[in-house]
Amino acid sequence: MKAPAQATRTAPRSYQWTMPSSWWLRKRHYFLYVLREFTALPMALWLLWLLFDIKSAGSAGFQPPRSIGFVVFSAVCFVFATYHSYTFLKLAGVIMHVKAFDRPVPPRLVVLTMFGLWALASVVIGAVLIGFAR
């Protein structure tokens, strides 16, 4: 058994590097990256509200969402959701490698297609939500 002083001398020394807590504020890119990741939280909260709205549809005391507080909450979530859509669909050209007639489809065309799909889906969903209302 080694003496305590000797044990201290021979113990492996490791360098513990820690990221400064404000790393994401240092560069605009870092901030935008964290903002992109954070978009998940407001979108999750809004979907939880949608689930509550679905559940309350079956109850006798149904109250349609009309408060100004809810509109403000939705407006904030909308900004984050739109940012999520923009950043996620913009990456499609990098992530998706599509071939047509044995030739790779240019990434720009993939991104354009995804944004086109976003517009189309928005029109269709919007038309259903409004068109089936009385």
Binding site: T18, M19, S21, W24, V34, E37, F38, T39, A40, L41, M43, A44, W46, L47, L48, L50, L51, D53, I54, K55, A57, G58, F62, P64, P65, R66, S67, F70, V71, F73, S74, A75, C77, F78, A81, T82, H84, S85, F88, L89, I95, L117, W118, A121, S122, I125, G126, V128, L129, I130, F132, A133, R134
Partner: protein
Amino acid sequence: MSTDAHLQHAHKPAFAHLFWWFMFANGGGLAALVLPVHILVQGILGPLGIVPVVDQHQDTWISVLGNPIVKLYLLVLIALSFFHFAHRLRYLLVDFGVAAAKSTPAQVIFYGGAVVVTLATIWILLTTAPI
């Protein structure tokens, strides 16, 4: 372990990774394509009275929710999105230096939370406006 056996082991398909990445990528894609218009119409335009929206009246909302295609759509939208959110929020904590977010309990909490939301969605969709 022989080289052949080692190679065979190394090339074993990572089905768990495949599943989680499928849920993450498709959840993010679906949320990107359809969530903004839901929030805009159901969360802003409808409540402000700018346009009529299905969920502003109980009879129309129940009628639409009774459609099995709508139920399936809402289940896929909510469930996939939550698997995406779980992954993003866990890694956001990792990026902020929360080492515990890498642990197995954290994975159980985040992805388990997505499973709980999925099960709750199935229950709510089946019990509200039954088919």
